[in-house]
């Protein structure tokens, strides 16, 4: 919330006369203009001695406000961007890829929900090992569940026919493409994500190897401690985290996969954690469950932008 006088060097129309006029109406920064009635302000300016200059100043402020929002796009431009940038990242799990029409969508926030020991981390590790063959990825680990041995195991399984040297090369490449951070509370996650955002913005101008996948395993462990009770701060943090992830996904062409756990609900059934306010934040929500005593998993759609909920698939890891 920079004060108005900081704008004076760049926009000489916002001189001390204008600043005093605005201050008399309780406006001290550009953000204050957002919640004031600008037409009323112009009407007050009319009654002032230097009305023309004041009104020019208001018009200048409006053009500054015009830079404060995202650009307007039409349908064709959006579609062009989607075709060029928002591909599918295959997870390497056939059942999941078929269900989702190719894999996890770049530009969208996908949530994977499941009770404990339902294979959520396994799906993440398998996806990480598959995506890291070609792209870099960032793995935010909240519960020390990241396992390089498991990644090596998945790579070994899919490359059975390759020579030992080729296997080693692929292993080296994948391992160097995976960036793993341990975060244990939501503020550490915000730190990492803001750092990532500024890195990506710099990289945009310079090129270089870009991150394509972001996995948060699991986001519910970060958010659940701040939720609950009567305070609204927890939900505000949760919503802010959701928007930051969606912004990263859309503006920097990442696919974001977050893990959520389940809690008990009425009648002994279980439902996804984080409550009703979280429900409308991810683009897609997938429910994962494991058949007892086997390694056959079920994944079903809870919510998807273009598919009906209930569609399911089975797979083996």
């Amino acid at each position: 919330m920079a004060p108005l006088k900081n704008l004076e060097t760049e926009y000489p129309i916002i001189d001390s006369n204008f600043q005093n006029f605005c201050a008399s109406h309780g406006i001290f920064s550009v953000e204050d203009f957002l919640i004031h009635d600008l037409y009323m302000l112009a009407a007050f300016a009319e009654q002032n001695v230097s009305s023309e200059r004041l009104k020019e100043g208001i018009t200048q402020i409006l053009s500054i406000i015009d830079d404060m929002h995202q650009p307007w796009l039409n349908g064709m431009e959006l579609l062009e961007d989607a075709k060029r940038n928002k591909h599918f990242l295959p997870t390497g799990i056939q059942g999941v890829d078929l269900l989702l029409g190719g894999g996890i969508r770049v530009g969208q926030l996908t949530e994977l929900v499941g009770p404990s020991a339902s294979g959520k981390t396994q799906v993440c590790l398998q996806t990480a090992s598959n995506v890291a063959r070609n792209y870099m990825m960032l793995y935010l680990d909240t519960g020390n569940s990241f396992s390089p041995q498991r990644i090596a195991y998945f790579l070994g399984k899919t490359n059975e026919l390759a020579s030992a040297q080729a296997k080693n090369q692929i292993l080296q490449k994948v391992m160097s493409n995976i960036l793993c951070h341990s975060v244990f509370d939501i503020f550490a996650m915000f730190d990492v994500l803001h750092q990532l955002e500024s890195n990506l913005r710099c990289q945009e101008r310079g090129g270089g190897c870009r991150i394509r996948l972001l996995i948060v395993d699991s986001i519910s462990l970060l958010i659940a401690p701040v939720l609950g009770g009567t305070s609204t701060r927890g939900r505000a943090l949760m919503a802010s985290a959701g928007y930051l992830l969606k912004k990263l996904a859309h503006q920097h062409n990442l696919a974001v996969l977050v893990i959520n756990h389940t809690v008990g609900s009425e009648g002994g059934t279980s439902k996804p954690a984080l409550g009703d306010s979280w429900k409308s934040i991810p683009h897609s929500r997938l429910l994962l469950s494991c058949d007892r005593g086997s390694n056959v998993y079920n994944v079903s759609i809870l919510k998807h932008p273009s598919m009906a909920s209930g569609k399911a698939a089975r797979f083996v890891i």
Binding site: Y39, I65, Q70, P71, L73, Q108, Y243, E266, G310
Partner: protein
């Protein structure tokens, strides 16, 4: 003489009605078809997540951007611009373009059931109609204007500059914006509530918290509608109240009654009639002229190809009609069942 000339009529009532109905027609959009909507109405579509609310908005947008007629085929649209303010940041343009394509093909082929079955068969037909449709498709897509807002400041900035944007688009395209779609209006509710209102410099300075943001949003929309008459449709994610869903609300009241036995009975009985839990400030509620509630049902509608499609129920709350409509979402859009 002069005063008598002042009393000469401009047009008869019938002519005026004709003119108004062509310039500002009533829209009957499924599943909101029971109440005709026109510019100046502000419709709120309430429902839990997910309940096809965004699809209803997409349906309205497609009806708005399709032309009434094009190369001899009747598309039944308005040929105007549609503006979409994406506050949820979840809009999927691929889904939108699929729905638009299917609507175009349905109108061109004349019957919807044929389109669903023959999509795979008529590849040859597609090849010849593709360029025909692509030109129409591109011109329709260009009439769809989209913006994302990641927080309240961006939303307010968009609204403040919307007047000039509307004028500019009118000059570029030659037609007006007919629908303004907001998805969804309660998106920043918790973030705004969480931002505490530090009152600096005494009481003269307003800060960006929930009440001031909502008041400004309502004020800007009212002023916009004076100069640019549009139909405004906003979705709102809400938790269903006692009337429909016993799950979450019952759990809350159970923990309440452990703490406060005296009041629990009063609360549950007064909440019986509320269809959903309202959280928007009163100033927004007073802006709304129409409200419809949508929700999913457990009953699945089995489509022709053995695909289970979710069924949704819609119920008008304002004006309160005592009827519940069932609808599904197909490839061509929202389809009313009953």
């Amino acid at each position: 003489m002069g005063s008598k000339a002042w009393l000469v009529e401009d047009e008869s009532a019938r002519e005026m009605l004709d003119r108004v109905l062509t310039e500002r027609p009533f829209l009957l959009l499924p599943p909101l078809h029971r109440v005709p909507l026109r510019v100046g109405n502000i419709v709120e579509i309430v429902g839990p997540s997910p309940s096809a609310k965004t699809h209803i908005l997409i349906q309205a947008a497609i009806t708005c951007i399709l032309p009434r007629q094009w190369k001899g085929v009747n598309y039944g649209g308005l040929g105007h611009l549609a503006m979409f303010l994406d506050l949820d940041c979840r809009f999927d343009i691929s889904r939108f373009s699929d729905l638009l394509n299917h609507r175009i093909m349905e109108a061109a082929n004349g019957s919807s059931s044929e389109v669903d079955c023959q999509i795979k068969e008529s590849e040859a037909q597609n090849a010849t109609t593709k360029p025909y449709n692509e030109e129409l498709f591109a011109s329709c897509m260009r009439r769809f204007l989209y913006i994302r807002c990641y927080d309240s400041s961006e939303f307010l900035a968009t609204l403040k500059t919307l007047h000039y944007r509307l004028q500019k688009e009118r000059e570029t395209h030659g037609v007006n914006v007919h629908v303004l779609l907001i998805d969804s209006i309660g998106a920043f509710h918790w973030i705004d509530r969480g931002s505490s209102s530090f009152s600096l410099e005494g009481d003269t300075r307003k800060s960006l918290h929930l009440q001031s943001v909502t008041e400004t949003v309502v004020q800007e929309i009212r002023k916009l509608l004076l100069v640019h008459p549009m139909l405004v449709m906003a979705t709102k994610a809400a938790v269903l109240g006692n009337r429909y869903s016993m799950n979450d609300s019952k759990r809350n009241y159970r923990t309440w009654s452990a703490k406060d036995n005296l009041h629990s009975r009063n609360v549950t009985s007064s909440d019986q009639q509320v269809p959903y839990r309202e959280y928007m400030p009163a100033v927004w509620q007073s802006l709304i002229t129409h409200r419809i509630l949508v929700r999913t049902t457990d009953a699945d509608f089995v489509n022709g190809e053995h695909q289970n499609v979710s069924t949704y129920l819609s119920e008008w709350l304002l004006p309160p009609l005592n009827s519940v409509d069932k609808f599904i979402v197909r490839d061509t859009g929202v389809f009313v069942l009953s």
